[in-house]
Amino acid sequence: MPDPQDRQPFDLTRRQVLETGTIASLTGAMLPTAGLAQQAGPQPSPENGMTVHLSFRVNGRPTALDIDARASLLDLLRERLGLVGAKKGCDHGQCGACTVHMDNRRVASCLTMAAKADGRDVTTIEGIARANGLHPMQQAFIDHDALQCGYCTPGQIMAAIACVKEGHASTPEQIKEYMSGNICRCGAYVGIVAAIEQAAPQIERS
């Protein structure tokens, strides 16, 4: 048992704090919420390259930490922040499984250097559900069986939300063209297009 003196608020031990990767200074709005504290994700490897300081917002939560300058945004999210929704399919921009939003635009997080997120707003699949339930795009994917194994799905949903907000979801042809950056190895494309057509009217264009 750790010394009670070592305990942080919310029962987060100092060891856990170190493991989650110095989540800013634990003050005010920067307190980690249950989601972060409960993570049982991979152990963060020590940052052994040159580091840069990064201060950004992930799913609305201010987050500050030192990162290896080489890190991708995808690895930062998955390996250090425990947000494993975004998937690593190819790590070379070719599949879309890692799609997240940065300042409201969809990007491939595998080819985004994490250092570039400084001062920005990043939204992942973990951040889109609404207080009263699933995001309409999540619900539409369920309604249309728009997945099989589910590996590509977080990237598909993030790309799909952006596709609608950009105004690129007015016809099935346009949806296919603007969703072509997301590959589905299971071939759930028909359901994906149907899901986007269903959700589009419920999502505001930006």
Binding site: T99, A108, M113, G181
Partner: protein
């Protein structure tokens, strides 16, 4: 990937100073969609990255003057959807919207696009020493010549390298006589886009003519009515999200139903963005029909040389160019 330092700068001056101070192993990074990718593949090995994606004003798009102007760090997605580009210069908009994916176009810059490196499979996949490549390791040889060369160039190849210049946007810019603005240690200069690229000759590792520390601060395109009669036609192994097997950029200056001057460039088939002057000569003063378009297109490929598996590009390229000429002509009101 080796440990590296990373800085973000706000002005071109600061960027150049940081670059010079960092020395040999410095590189600029913009969107990173090509450079960071190649770092992961062990092909690019910078020790210092200077991020120029957020230089003040570098994402400016200005269509008010007598030239269209695109800042070096303007995003591909933003240029593709700019109303003036989309409506009056479809060849430019289409070359961007048919490239990569929306995710990548939201990251990649129009300046970085000009300087992306080849997708030659032996270049990209052989950094562990599996394949020789004169572009990666000067003097090591070329695995593509006599190898699996389906993707390789039929125009502009040398005995040292037949890798294709991969970008779509540079092909459209070539047809539109674009100019590239550069800032270096000694101030700024402007070059025609045709002078940006070096043919492979014996030194395929030297791909661009600009100085290592020079920054592409902007790209400009002269305004022309031919912009409306233009198109970018891209043929790929799949319908979207793939590099070109062959592509054609065409813009036509018309006198009634006769071509006063055609602007033709080819992608996917050549070692540099390729101007199709012989096709332009055939079309000058002519009315357009399928036969004439095909004759012009074949002229553009007269000097093409196939390897083992890429002969199809010559016929496919000619037919694609002929279609593009007809499409551009049909936009003439």
């Amino acid at each position: 990937m080796k440990p590296l330092s990373y800085v973000q700068v706000r002005t071109a001056r600061e960027a150049i100073e940081a670059f010079v101070a960092a020395g040999e192993s410095a590189r600029y990074i913009a969107g990173g969609t090509n450079l960071y990718d190649l770092m992961k593949l062990g092909i690019e090995k910078p020790a210092h990255l200077i991020d120029i994606a957020d230089l003040d004003g570098a994402n400016r798009i200005d269509t008010d003057g007598d030239r269209l102007f695109f800042g070096g760090a303007a995003l591909m997605a933003d240029v593709a959807e700019h109303p003036v580009v989309r409506d009056d210069y479809p060849v430019l908009a289409e070359s961007l919207s048919k490239a990569a994916s929306q995710q990548l176009r939201n990251m990649a810059t129009v300046g970085g696009n000009l300087l992306q490196r080849t997708r030659c499979p032996y270049f990209r996949n052989g950094a562990d020493g599996t394949y020789p490549c004169n572009k990666r390791e000067p003097g090591s040889g070329c695995a593509a010549i006599g190898g699996i060369d389906r993707s390789q160039a039929v125009l502009g190849a040398s005995a040292a390298c037949n890798a294709v210049s991969p970008g779509d946007w540079p092909v459209a810019l070539m047809a539109m006589d674009a100019a590239v603005e550069l800032q270096g240690l000694d101030g700024t200069r402007v070059i025609p886009i045709s002078e940006l690229y070096r043919p492979p000759s014996r030194t395929p590792h030297l791909e661009f003519t600009i100085g290592r520390e020079e920054i592409v601060t902007g790209i400009s395109v002269p305004k022309t009515a031919a912009g409306r009669n233009s198109t970018y036609l891209k043929v790929r192994d799949r319908e979207s999200y793939a590099f070109a097997l062959v592509s054609a950029a065409v813009a036509l200056e018309m006198d009634g139903d006769r071509v006063r001057q055609a602007h033709v460039a080819l992608g996917g088939v050549a070692t540099v963005p390729w101007r199709g002057r012989p096709a332009e000569a055939v079309l000058r003063g002519e009315t357009l029909d399928r036969g004439r378009a095909l004759e012009a297109a074949r002229a553009a490929f007269a000097e093409a040389r196939a390897g083992r598996h890429n002969a199809f590009k010559i016929e496919l390229g000619a037919r694609t160019l002929a279609d593009a000429i007809i499409n551009a002509g049909s936009r003439n009101q």
